[in-house]
């Protein structure tokens, strides 16, 4: 039997099970904590830092912190709203994101968070980093300009023997997402589609078919990111 626990987020009484990740426990209580790298039931990466909250006075990533009895969590405070907006802005200056021309526009979590936090002009100087595009594998078009290093593909997409098809290369500012040429050649259409679907931005694209759903009729065109979680519990 899992143990039920009580905690609060911005004063709201919440319930969850002991050990459940805070970000998931919050969602179950209708509280949206923004994420880019997190996916439920996947080993947390803790890399995008969007879900940073204050727990009992300490800054923690809600995607790596287990919910505990009596936690007092600060989520939508002016401090964290600004930090999250800053992180979105930072991702926009670090990569090269041109939303109007992107196949993922309207389905992109980064773009949706830009709207949510009403980003106008990034406060940081653009890096204009040169990033190589890789179109050499049969099924996947890797548009590195848009990669935000969430590691979702690294964690999810494996071949039959459990070997990684995607992995990091380099470190710091030379970091890039790498695709295994040999193993990528064995990917099925379903795997390629899954890789594209879990990519929160437009970095991993499945080749050949695009823009099936017109822009304007896509996921975030009609409802802001996080509203599904918040509306479920009103």
């Amino acid at each position: 039997m899992s143990e039920t626990i009580k905690f609060t987020i911005d004063g709201k009484e919440c319930q969850g099970t002991k050990g459940q990740l805070l970000v998931d426990a919050a969602a179950d209580n209708g509280v949206y904590i923004p994420v880019l790298c997190h996916m439920r039931d996947l080993i947390p990466a803790g890399s995008c830092r969007m879900c940073t909250v204050k727990v009992n006075g300490r800054n923690m990533a809600a995607c790596t912190t287990p919910a505990e009895e009596g936690m007092a969590v600060e989520n939508n405070t002016p401090e964290f709203l600004d930090i999250r907006k800053a992180i979105v802005e930072m991702l926009f200056v670090e990569g090269n994101h041109f939303c109007p021309a992107c196949e993922k526009s309207g389905n992109c979590d980064l773009q949706a968070l830009g709207y949510k936090y009403q980003m106008m002009v990034p406060r940081f100087p653009y890096a204009f980093e040169r990033r190589e595009i890789d179109a050499t594998t049969p099924k996947i078009f890797l548009e590195r300009n848009r990669c935000i290093f969430c590691k979702r593909c690294v964690r999810v997409i494996k071949d039959e023997e459990g070997r990684s098809i995607f992995a990091f290369k380099g470190r710091g500012t030379t970091l890039e997402i790498n695709i295994d040429k040999k193993l990528a050649a064995t990917m099925t259409d379903e795997m390629a589609q899954q890789a594209m679907d879990i990519c929160p931005v437009g970095c991993i694209l499945k080749k050949e078919i695009g823009f099936v759903t017109p822009i304007g009729q896509r996921k975030y065109d009609t409802m802001p990111i996080g509203s599904d979680i918040e509306n479920n519990h009103q």
Binding site: P44, A45, G46, S47, C48, R49, T52, N59, A61, T64, T65, P66, I83, A86, I87, M90, L91, V93, E94, R123, F124, P125, A127, I148, F149, K151, D159, E161, R163, S164, I165, F166, A167, F168, K169, G170, R171, G172, T173, T174, L175, N178, I179, D180, K181, K182, L183
Partner: protein, 604 residues
Amino acid sequence: MKEKIISIVEAHGSDASRLMDILLNVQSTFGHVSAEAVSLLATMLRISEVDVVQTLSFYHFFSTTAVGKYAVYMNNSVVSCMMGMKDVVDEFEKQTGVKFGNTTADGKIGLYYTACIGMNDQEPAALINGIVFNELNRQKVRDIVAGMKVGIPVQDMIAHYGDGNNANPLMKSMVHNNIRKTGAVVLSDYTLGIGIAKALTSDAKSVIKEMKESNLRGRGGAGFPTGMKWDFCSRESGVHYIICNADEGEPGTFKDRVLLTERAYMLFEGMTIGGFAIGAAEGILYLRHEYTYMKAYLENVLKDMRIKNFLGNNILGRGYNFDIRIQMGAGAYVCGEESALIESAEGKRGEPRNRPPFPVQKGYKGKPTVVNNVETFCSATRIIEKGAAWYNTLGTSESAGTKLLSISGDCKFPGVYEIEWGMSINAMLEMVGAENVQAVQVAGPSGICLPPNQFHRKIALEDLPTGGSMIVIGQQRDILKDVVLNFMEFFADESCGSCVTCRSFNMILRNAIEKVVAGHAIKKDVENMQAWSEILRKTTRCGLGQTSSNPISTTIKNFPELYDARVKDVDYQSDFDMEKSVKASCEVVGRSSEVHELAKVNIN
């Protein structure tokens, strides 16, 4: 090539978790790790090529292209620059005819920069094929390059041996210990085996109790209570591991180098005591790549301890089995972070793990693991020998015992000092013969840049905590250019890149301080730097990002006048840098990129 690689992989049990050693072996055998080698390794280890590349591309001393028959890695950290690196670099480039970052056309000599190599007390220093060349000057460089040109092996270029074990036939190193002050705990006389015999005749619980009562706190810098760490770990079930963090990478620290050279037995004894306390049968010494020159000596110490039955099966007839292996690093500052170190020891990129779980719960290979610093283990040996009560008579009420300081920079007597916690910075400066001091960089780049009006403060965990790096900065130095910019370049290079904020902010902050140094910044830029440092500190996963903005934030706080002198109080100033923008194209046509004063006026 194929046969050789197959034998390397098989020598490591075809085990992917030994990828670090396998790559190190391939690198040293062939001078690089080729695409062919990557493919072969992936097949043999049953992992994907991108996973081999993931590890290969993370570490500084791995290379996918040939590094040269003689690979020169010049330390370009702050103190090396202070001590005249520029001349040494100039002479290397002049003698070889290539710029740093390149290899000579015949593939013979490669010149590269590297971060602090733990020789701050004898700079400028470089590693050449793993051998330390210290106190370099133009004449020495001329001799070295002349030797390279006629093919003299690097080990034959060693002019003289350093003191103590540096002269040991297995070490044969020019490095000096520079032990300036010995204290009661680690650098006083030591006899092998007293601590371990005491521990083994008592029981694990009593050892942990003694350690807790000693109030010893981790000597790597974070200051976590050692006894508590051992206690937490010992409560977990199953296989346990004990790891010594000898990845001394904080620029300016070199005290572990001296302990590894002169107190290796004491260190391994401490690991054995720790292993006994937590119930581990296996220990790992994670040794930074820069200290490869000590490896043969350290292996021999382990061998000697096995012969004397201080390691191996049924140690001292007390039924305890324990042994230690050495894991080499490959050049990554972030691997000094304990969970990144564990990842690295498992053959992966050195990326810090999320917590929880903590290493004491799930560490090396997912098993409960204690990671302690070299000095911590040496202290543990002495504590078990002489008792917690004795240990508590040293130091301050909140910081028991002694601390090794690595002091370098603008002072007469750079070296290693074992002091009791509680010494003031003023007293320290007097001890090292430093005059006209502008600042002291306490605890390395991730610490504080301390101004003279705070020199009364005490070196102690409750006031000025430190892992031991102390860089004395004289009046003649340009702190923002010579120190802060250098530190920020270091952090931008060394971030593992996994956290958005650490990867990006360190780059953004490095560019921002560069703008200040170039004289292009306005007041608002400095305010931004402060605000952005704060976001970085609040949102990153590990200690690197939480402290990497300190060079900027502590100088803005403690030396505001340095910024005021360089920034303009206007709303807007172009940060376009003509010289920088045309540098590459000017080099192509062989012209100086220097923009004349008149042209500058016109641009502005």
